[in-house]
Point group: C2
Chain length 265, copies 2
Amino acid sequence: MGTAQLTAVPEPKYWHLRTVLLRAIDSEFSTGQVIPNERELAARFGVARATLRQALDQLEMEGRLVRRRGIGTLVAAPRVGVPVSRREEGWPGGSREQVWQTVDCVIAPATEQLAKALGVPAGETVYTVRRVRVAQGQTVATESLHVPDSALARLPAIRLSGAAAEGEEPGREEQGRTVLRRLERLTVDGESRSVELGVAEADEAQLLQRPPGTPVLVVTTQYASGGRLAALAVATYRADTCRLTFGETGLVEVTPVAASARTAS
Amino acid sequence: MGTAQLTAVPEPKYWHLRTVLLRAIDSEFSTGQVIPNERELAARFGVARATLRQALDQLEMEGRLVRRRGIGTLVAAPRVGVPVSRREEGWPGGSREQVWQTVDCVIAPATEQLAKALGVPAGETVYTVRRVRVAQGQTVATESLHVPDSALARLPAIRLSGAAAEGEEPGREEQGRTVLRRLERLTVDGESRSVELGVAEADEAQLLQRPPGTPVLVVTTQYASGGRLAALAVATYRADTCRLTFGETGLVEVTPVAASARTAS
């Protein structure tokens, strides 16, 4: 297939401007620097304010620019590389506890949809531990770790510590920790994963401290143990600030190639 | 950290409507079905046309609805699970050729940025093979596979076939195939990968037959051989129709949990 056979897609005006602006940002400005205001930029590039605003919106959506009230428009920091794998994150309850902070635990019968994803009968009790992941002082992800009762039942019970041990009703955060500590005893054979684009639902958005509808990378992970599904994690990573990394080679971290350099020919 | 301590983020009206619409779509309609027109929907949900349109735009952006001129708004097919790993795709030139179709090959000195990503001196000759990936009859991804001359030089040369063997100037597609055939002889020790949200640049958009700015998942893969970087692939997958899968457990394919069911508590 030659490129000549392909249908040309017309490039909208704001898109051309966005690409020109991106090159200017990459070559003239550094992270955190305030770029000229809209009036100056419109004059410099000889475009209408509306077109300029559309291009700036696009670059903000791409995580390249950040608007700060009272300051102006800044060049955003590069995305944070966030390792996503059991080897690097550790299994829930283990070293993973350092990257993930437990928020709470919900114990409820599985909806039809969740039951199907977990391979258990609808209505089976499922422990859902909600956690947030913090990187460089910023909440970058939320996670719902679903563990069916039948998987947990195959693990030895553990003594509750703290408040719960003293006879008080355990808090939802403490319940989450207990589920994680039981999971620690699980031998994980492997994990399968899927990554897709999504948007933060209301409660995920709240945990991420972003408006609902914020683009996120949805990472769904199946953890297998003894040939069966032991747990299912659904994590949402902020798409504007995160780059997910999956390492194996032991080489230096994957260096992203800027879009402007990606397809130069 | 209790949820009570978190700042509540207000939910915009269109966002609430989008969530209500999504539930209605999931329960009342199936893939390919035409949903009621804007006037009927606005009446049913008691909202202004502008709010409705904003919610429909959002669902189209999320790949849940598709607008077809002269037909109306349809429920989109579920995203296609696309396996992303050497084991499943094969190494370039091998079985991978079945999933990836070679478009052309560009031979050019490495820009500063590309040289840095490849770990070679700026200006070194780089072979960039461009390919497209087709799944279920649709172009779902583009790829630029960058191979520095120094990596290729460590591999034995191969005889050119077809037109080139007969003394004619090889075409850009044929050059691409030759690079891939030489890479076949490479022993790959491992691969590291990063996934992030991006937008299709003009020429990527053309290959995907979508408008520039279409959201894509950018997958950057380092292939290591003998402790060195042998090739760097930058692929862009359509974010509206693809779900990337990374398998290891041998269990059934990861079942995505619909956003509406993801966080039910």
